[in-house]
């Protein structure tokens, strides 16, 4: 392997979605580093290319349709000196020699190449858990999709997957799904949520259900998917009285429960968080392997694209600092741990020691958490060695929706270096 030729770069960015492109824009604006941006698709833009809720609010301060936003990012990045590789799938990340460099192997119709670089940014996005992963029982029939597959079919390939669809799940992406179904000229037969509360802002969901005229079934679990060949409907159990009833459809869209597209860290030294299934990162968005960073949805599943873009930018700034010789000194190294029903805390670590600095205040803003399902009147408590270091009550936390975690309000005096901070919820 040692005598193979590798193309040399300073920064490799894997994934040309909002996170990866924003990182490249920032890096090229502020440095002369040799940057390579890799995406397996034939166009840049990432997930926004196929979804169409409005984009660009926080990062570009304007509102675009998904595809327009993707094109905008594409146009901006092509004006820079960043080397762009599309239809280029990164197959693996490994160590190149012993100089601390990283190596990626890339396949594309133009050939197979290896690249060597000091920094790597992983911005490979996420996808929705499949029916199999969610263990939804029933017949193994066709006509069952995720929103991601549906949007790819409808918005990129102009196919019509069926006529009458049922939506499972009520996270925000379910609403994006409803819009796509309507756009494809399909009828929406209903939206099913197993929890009693909707997992998104209920006013938006309710408005949409009125506007598109579909019923919402809450507190109902799919007991079985029906149909030997094509899906014909589902059998639901209502949690409150265990009553079983059936709904008909020819298409079933399973939405939400995102998980990071983090296959590239399989079998590497990059530590994986068993809760998010993405890489563990610290306040610089650096993974457990030095100079490999991660940003965007690969960290924890779907978030709004503009936050992903801002994360990409933040990772870029950290890479720049590092390239200018700043060495990360772990003077704190506290690990955060989430207890159910809190689903995760990302970043999972903090290493920066000076809690008075500007930098600390700025980095604090990237910490967030999510609860498994919607909880009313919860109190969240952060403990370190049985000492309460922060507590806060909320009127409601919406399930599977990002909530900023204001760690700068934590009582840092009580936190000792090398300790674990445990976040738990009571209601």
């Amino acid at each position: 392997m040692s005598n193979e030729k590798q193309i040399s770069l300073d920064v490799v960015v894997i994934g040309g979605g909002p996170a990866g492109i924003s990182a490249c824009l920032e890096l090229s604006r502020l440095s002369n580093l040799r940057i390579g941006l890799f995406d397996r698709e034939s166009e840049l833009g990432g997930m926004p290319r196929s979804c169409h809720i409005y984009f660009g609010m926080r990062d570009r301060k304007r509102i675009y349709r998904g595809q327009t936003y993707a094109r905008k990012l594409d146009k901006l990045i092509r004006k820079t000196s960043v080397k762009i590789y599309t239809e280029a799938t990164v197959l693996n990340i490994s160590a190149a020699g012993n100089k601390g460099l990283h190596r990626i192997d890339v396949a594309s119709p133009n050939g197979f190449e290896s690249y060597e670089s000091r920094f790597v940014l992983l911005a490979s996005g996420c996808f929705e858990s499949s029916r199999g992963a969610r263990m939804i029982p029933g017949e193994r029939c066709s006509g069952v999709f995720t929103t991601g597959a549906l949007q790819q079919m409808v918005n990129l390939r102009h196919q019509k997957p069926g006529k009458r669809a049922l939506i499972i799940g009520s996270e925000i992406v379910a609403l994006s799904c409803a819009m796509t179904l309507k756009r494809a000229g399909m009828d929406i037969m209903g939206l099913i949520e197993e929890d009693h509360n909707l997992q998104s802002y209920s006013s938006v969901a309710k408005t949409m259900s009125l506007f598109y005229r579909f019923p919402i079934y809450r507190g109902a679990t799919v007991r079985s998917i029906l149909g030997r060949e094509r899906v014909e409907g589902v059998e639901l159990v209502r949690e409150s009285d265990q009553k079983v009833f059936r709904l008909q459809c020819d298409t079933l869209v399973i939405t939400g429960r995102f998980r990071p597209d983090s296959g590239l860290i399989d079998g590497t030294l990059i530590e994986r968080d068993p809760l998010t299934l993405g890489p563990v990162v610290d306040d610089s968005l650096e993974t457990s392997v030095s100079n490999i960073f991660a940003a965007g949805n690969v960290l924890r599943g779907a978030n709004m694209h503009d936050l992903c873009a801002l994360e990409g930018k933040q990772a870029a700034q950290e890479i720049l600092r590092r390239s200018k010789g700043y060495v990360c000194s772990e003077d704190m190294s506290v690990v955060f741990r989430a207890e159910a029903p809190i689903r995760y805390i990302v970043p999972q670590k903090i290493v920066i020691g000076n809690t008075k600095s500007h930098r600390f205040k700025r980095l604090c803003s990237i910490y967030s958490m999510q609860v498994e399902h919607t909880v009313k009147n919860p109190t969240i408590k952060a403990l370190c060695d049985d000492k309460t270091i922060w507590t806060k009550s909320f009127s409601k936390l919406v399930g599977r929706t990002r909530k900023r975690l204001p760690i700068k309000n934590f009582d840092w005096k009580k936190i000792e270096k090398g300790k674990e901070v445990v976040l738990s919820l009571r209601n």
């Binding site: 192997d105 396949a107 499949s130 029916r131 066709s142 999709f145 094509r230 597209d261």
Partner: protein, 501 residues
């Protein structure tokens, strides 16, 4: 409908048994055809099978388990059982066959653990039977190992294990469709006619020739081999060939876990047999972990494969009792397998010429069916010859088949070369399993017409996202290559028209 084919031997059914027979018969100068009612090979029992090719400890396990479940006092171990001899013969033929057909497989060890005294007793019994089998018929010995040795071999196995039985040499792991597709590909290369989507509906006989009616036209044949598997009774009835047997069934739900667990265990980890309990975790050559922790459920409708929620919890709980690090977060898919066997003599295969219908051979195979398959195919040759079919060996039989390149498994140099030869091998379609457009096109060339066949032949869509990314792309490639509209491409069975998948 008109006549579509005349042949000497017609095999009905493209499961492991039909496929094995089809390939074996290519060694002789006779005309052979195989018909399969579904659009894919390996679509019935063989699809939902653990498909382990076994002898030794696992065979002992299955005998003991059945004895436990039979009325008290029943011992189902008799080294004279013909099915045992066939299983051993088949097992011995398999490695070479896999080599000829270039089938990816592995040879994991089996470790059966005991968590208490009673289970330890079970292991002793398994040890005794297994070693008796191998003493009498050949094969590697099994041995008991203590907790320390177990921990060294498999540190992630439950701490409750007090001892284990180790079998290092009597198991071959293979992905069932890989095996069945390879057999049929090789049979086709040697002249076998194969027709998919062809369901036998009626059989009649006149002047020593069978007329077989299918949905695509009639086939005339001298000999019929009924390899209809879990539908063998229906097929036999069409020719009045069912003699005095019927079919019985049971089913089990299984799941497959994410390949990020690769290396968690390197051997098959099994629990000791208990009443109706057959728990094991099988590390697949793909890196995934296969959870075979399910109960034996009765079957009302043999085509009912709808999974059930309670079974998920059961499987996870039982899997954790073997390897605690297993979690439901890693489940990627689950499905049912339906076993069939004959009611006349449940402890035997039926491999015989029907009394009711001349030149009609019934193959009603009990468990295990994969282990003896190559040997069963040889038995069929003998039966045909006994019936007076002239069997002259072909000097030009080609036993070799090359598999579709697996891009993801190649070295960097090989990857580079393959893309340089054909740029479509640089277009990755399935990201989770690293499957390229080149591989998918090759699968279509070799006969894939459905999404499932592409999946079985290339692994596209079998990874952790389960077709979220590649599903629509595979449909597009199929439509383009087959020159069909996208909305006519189906997943497995034909669906109504204006609908995809």
């Amino acid at each position: 409908m008109g006549k579509i084919l005349e042949t000497e031997v017609l095999i009905i059914g493209g499961g492991i048994i039909g496929a094995s027979v089809a390939r074996e018969l290519q060694k002789y100068k006779i005309d052979v055809a195989l018909v399969e009612k579904s659009p894919n090979l390996c679509s019935a029992t063989s699809k939902g099978s653990h498909s382990m090719i076994y002898w030794g400890a696992e065979m002992a396990f299955s005998l003991v388990l059945k004895s436990i479940m039979a009325p008290p006092g029943t011992e189902l171990y008799d080294p004279e059982f013909p099915f045992l001899k066939l299983a051993k013969k088949g097992f011995d033929l398999t490695d070479n066959l896999f080599h000829e057909l270039d089938i990816i497989h592995s040879h994991p060890s089996i470790i059966i653990i005991a968590r208490d005294k009673e289970e330890l007793e079970m292991l002793r019994k398994l040890e005794e039977i297994s070693n008796d089998l191998t003493d009498k018929m050949g094969g590697g010995k099994v041995q008991m190992i203590d907790k320390k040795a177990l921990n060294e071999m498999e540190p992630n196995v439950t701490g409750h294990a007090i001892a284990a039985l180790l079998d290092e040499s009597n198991l071959i792991e293979v992905f069932a469709p890989d095996y069945v597709f390879a057999l049929v590909e090789n049979a086709k290369d040697n002249g076998c006619k194969v027709s998919m989507n062809t369901e036998v509906k009626k059989i009649s006989r006149k002047n020593g020739v069978y007329t077989v009616e299918t949905n695509r036209g009639t086939i005339e044949t001298e000999f019929i081999i009924n390899a209809g598997g879990k539908y063998a009774d229906y097929v036999a009835d069409m020719a009045g060939a069912r003699d005095d047997w019927g079919l019985a069934f049971n089913k089990t739900q299984m799941m497959v876990l994410d390949k990020r667990l690769k290396g968690l265990v390197n051997s098959v980890i099994m629990g000791a047999p208990g009443p109706g309990v057959f728990d094991f975790l099988l590390p697949l050559h793909t890196g995934n972990l296969y959870v075979g922790c399910g109960t034996y459920e009765p079957v009302e409708d043999r085509d009912d494969a709808a999974t059930v929620r309670e079974n998920f919890d059961y499987a996870i709980e039982h899997a954790r009792a073997l390897v605690p690090a297993v979690s439901e977060k890693d489940v990627i898919t689950s499905f049912y397998g339906t076993r069939y066997w004959n009611t006349r003599d449940p402890e035997s295969h039926i491999i015989e010429v029907s009394k009711g219908a001349p030149n009609f051979i019934n193959l009603v195979i009990k468990l295990p069916g994969f282990s003896p398959a190559p040997a069963i195919a040889r038995s069929v040759v003998n039966l045909l010859s006994d019936q007076g079919l002239q069997l002259t060996e072909k000097s030009y039989f080609n036993p070799i088949r090359k598999r579709i390149p697996r891009f993801g498994m190649l070295s960097n140099e090989e990857k580079k070369e393959l893309i340089a030869q054909d740029s479509r091998y640089g277009n990755i379609i399935c990201f989770c399993e690293t499957v390229t457009e080149g591989e998918i096109i090759e699968a279509i060339k070799r006969g894939a017409t459905t999404i499932q066949a592409v999946k079985y032949m290339t692994r596209a869509g079998m990874g952790r996202c389960q077709r979220n990314f590649c599903g629509p792309r595979v449909v597009e490639i199929l439509a383009r290559e087959l020159n069909m509209p996208v909305n006519e491409i189906v997943y497995e069975k034909p669906a109504s028209k204006d609908i995809l998948f």
